[in-house]
């Protein structure tokens, strides 16, 4: 069954470049404007107009090329991809075909089991996006919105190096992280700024020759990528095991039904009649240009993760999570600056734990976190100096999140300061022991687990404020024999 088959996946990721204006016109690229208000004569493909290349798009493509250690082409060529469609105003898309701007790069991806896999990137090329067809609210008609037409895209084509849906998602996430680090794409998948086509095939394990592939178009979430690939793999295996043959075709993923459907077969595929666009000169890139772009490269995710792991003695996993976005990394580093590198693990746990779950729960970006790095630092200081316990700290954090006040104010107002006075703790312990003679007897007769009962009772009596380490120590002494907690 499945275990006899090897899955082969390659992705074509379309990242919308974060330029202010379009790739060949001066129209703005902002999302969400009323239809056809951000399309000028060039975008509309009017007679006589000509494209002029946006240099920012070239810089961004080169930036990406440098970040994946690719060959940046000193000379690349725009070509026309010819086909008719109402949302394609000129009847051709300006893209790059034979000579793309970026070739032969690679990216390291960490898999679930912690293993690192290198995925080859065949090429990345610049192209313009098409417009959109609108059907909603239009009876017997199709509306065309050309706001998106001419938006710059970087199409990133991987080698068929991925062997599972999870690997594909891990790779796509890594590219997502990278383009956002580089600030060349906002990565907004709902708005379509980051989407992909997946080429999927299966072959018997051990066979070298690739199976026939299907291309699943326009996947705009990590979850859809995973589910679509899983569905497609199962479909192909079923066909082959049933004695059939997979046909080369383009398929669409229907997320409502969780299935892929045939869109067009190879025979129906367009002959795009690519040829160099005579309206645009070849893009010539020289060393000073590349050097200038290189100078704008930020610390890359892998570099940041390695630094975190080394400087803060974090695990590769933690370092990877904390460097998954520039903003998260910056937040973490700001907290470290406050509490000191010696408490990096504590800071990491808080950022990855309470903070991340609160952000997720309320669907807030880290830049807009209700608890800023200084405030979190204030809270961690109180844990470090044992003013509060870790458990109480969670309660304080929740209050900070909802009330927006600093940790100290909340600790004071709620009287959450930890009890570290041994005498006071002892007094409570004595009272608890006195009130529970049966449990004491059982404990002493060997029911070790009851140690926890007494801890709980003391904590209950102190409102959770007893210093846990001190409490353990004192309780052990008071209860005497039997317990070994």
């Amino acid at each position: 069954m499945m275990s006899n088959w090897e899955v082969v996946i390659g992705l074509e990721i379309h990242a919308q470049l974060a330029t202010k204006s379009k790739i060949f016109s001066g129209s703005p690229t902002a999302y969400g404007a009323p239809p056809n208000t951000q399309a000028d004569l060039v975008d509309l493909g009017f007679p006589g107009v000509l494209p002029v290349l946006n240099q920012r798009a070239v810089q961004m493509a080169v930036k990406f090329g440098l970040a994946i250690d690719a060959a940046v082409a000193r000379r690349s060529v725009f070509a026309r991809k010819n086909y008719f469609y109402p949302d394609l105003p000129k009847g051709y898309q300006i893209s790059q075909y034979e000579l793309p701007i970026v070739a032969r790069g690679s990216l390291k991806v960490m898999l679930d089991d912690g293993a690192v896999k290198t995925i080859g990137i065949t090429r990345a090329h610049l192209e313009e996006d098409a417009g959109k067809s609108l059907h909603e609210g239009l009876a017997n008609a199709t509306g065309i919105d050309l706001n998106r037409a001419g938006t710059p895209l970087l199409e990133i084509v991987s080698e068929p190096d991925m062997r599972s849906a999870k690997e594909a998602v891990a790779y796509m996430k890594k590219i997502h992280t990278l383009v956002r680090y580089l600030e060349i794409c906002d990565g907004n998948m709902q708005e379509g700024s980051f989407r992909c086509d997946a080429n999927v095939s299966v072959r018997p394990k051990g066979q070298e020759k690739f199976g026939t592939r299907a291309e699943i178009k326009n996947l705009n979430s990590f979850r859809f990528v995973e589910k679509a690939i899983q569905y497609e793999v199962a479909r192909q295996v079923e066909i082959i095991e049933g004695g059939g043959k997979v046909v080369q075709e383009t398929r669409l993923y229907d997320s409502d039904k969780d299935e892929t459907r045939s869109m067009r077969s190879k025979e129906e595929a367009n002959d795009y009649r690519y040829f160099p666009d005579p309206d645009l000169l070849p893009v010539e890139i020289d060393e000073p240009f590349i050097a200038a772009v290189r100078a704008t490269l930020p610390e890359l995710p892998d570099q940041k993760a390695a630094r975190f792991a080394k400087d803060f003695a974090l695990s590769a996993y933690d370092a990877g999570v904390l460097s998954a976005s520039r903003e998260l990394g910056a937040y973490f580093e700001a907290v470290i600056a406050g509490v000191g590198a010696g408490h990096a693990k504590l800071a990491a746990n808080w950022v990855m734990g309470e903070l991340s779950s609160a952000l997720n729960r309320d669907n807030v970006d880290i830049q807009n976190s209700k608890v800023d790095p200084a405030q979190l630092t204030g809270l961690l200081h109180r844990i470090v100096d044992e003013t509060i316990s870790g458990k109480i700290a969670k309660e304080v954090f929740e209050a900070m999140w909802s009330e927006g006040k600093p940790a100290d104010a909340i600790i004071e107002a709620k009287g959450l300061r930890q009890i570290t006075d041994s005498g006071a703790i002892e007094g409570v312990i004595d009272a608890v022991i006195a009130a529970n003679p049966k449990q004491l007897a059982d404990y002493r007769s060997g029911k070790d687990k009851l140690f926890g009962f007494f801890v709980g009772q003391v904590m209950k009596a102190t409102g959770g404020k007893a210093n846990p380490a001190q409490l353990n120590e004192l309780l052990k002494t008071k209860l005497g024999g039997g317990g070994n907690a």
């Binding site: 009017f46 007679p47 006589g48 000509l50 002029v52 290349l53 009847g91 009649r273």
Partner: protein
Amino acid sequence: MLHNLFIGELAERLTKRQISSVELTRHFLSRIERLNPGLNAFITLTPKQALQEAAAADARLAAGEKGPLLGIPLIHKDIFCTDGVKTSCGSRMLDNFVAPYDATVVARLKGAGAVMLGKSNMDEFAMGSSNETSYYGPVKNPWDTTKVPGGSSGGSAAATAARLAPFATGTDTGGSIRQPAALTGVTGFKPTYGRVSRYGMIAFASSLDQAGVFTRSAGDAAAVLQVMAGFDARDSTSVDAPVPDYSKALGAPLKGLKIGLLREFFEGLEPRNAALIEDALTIYTGLGAETREVSLPHLPLSVPTYYVVAPAECSSNLSRFDGVRFGYRCKDPKDLMDLYKRSRGEGFGAEVKRRIMTGTYVLSAGYFDAYYLKAQKARRMITDDFRAAFEKVDLVIGPTTPTPAFDIGAKVNDPVLMYLNDIYTIGANLAGLPGISIPCGFVDSLPMGLQLVGPHFAEAKLLNAAHQYQQATDWHRHAPRGYE
């Protein structure tokens, strides 16, 4: 008469306030009204706008402003987009199209104070050598109205020859300025590819198209080019190089100028045509130029090369005419395919369809290498031939066309015969070189053209060589009977 004056003479009278631009404009408008019905040189006339522009030019003149084209009337080929004015490109497809902007050429001439009288007839989408493919009917040659004026800029050529305007714009993709200039006895100038912006010029074959001008003298062409030429940030293929003072270059003596005689141009040349070229060479040697034979061994490939490259580009350029956003749309399309097929089927004429089909074919998978790529290689070889020739000579000379103007209808059903009309002009387009055709005599009472082609950006040298010839001859002063 005013209409026989050259641009420089008109500008002088305007500057001295001897005439007003409004008077001049009225003079040409009335000639157009009287003479154009026999020629069909226009698709659109803009008399009202012309008089407004003329009045504005007069105001500038009255304020003391001077300019070589200030207040001078002109005609634009209907391939140039003109803001608020129908821009049809000679096609039913754009019969309803009013351009929402000015082409750079139009804007520059407008800025210089030139006054647009109207838009000239042309072969549909500039595809043709006789002006017979126009949706608006053929243009007649003023020298003999049973003859074609050449194409594709036939309306501009005929109108300039008939003195309906001092000058007219044109475009030249394979000879579309030089060939009709030759056939109507006027001066037709195609600059270096990239010298004049293509922005707003409806594309036929983008790597070959170049805007230029019809005038009655090389001196006039220099004055007009001065305004048209120059870098345009909106055309990536326009060249960012300084524009020399073309009129200033006109005085230079030709002593020592090395003129190349293209062996390939003279092989099989009709004797009367050859005799005219010989006469021209005698003039040039008399002016101190030296002649020597040069060869462009790959030039015979130029027609087949052109008829792969140009259709390939046009097949893509004309895809935007799909009935969706502008231009012709078929009635009651039943679905998208029907909309495409009928809008394009009904909107385009036969020659345009022929070239779209040819171009689609040569770009198709499986044929691309054999046709398109091979044509690109041939194009490079032709360009290299010219480059080698220009290491030996300053410019090359030859006939513009194999024959004088032919009968309307004579070649319309034989595309190959029609295409061979461009045999002498296509090379300059493939290599991106500047070329000029100037009148050099008559065969069968019809004008013939002498063509000069120079290296890239040798406009000044070319214009001066043409100017010196016109100082020594008067072929360019001949007017067709009835239009004097």
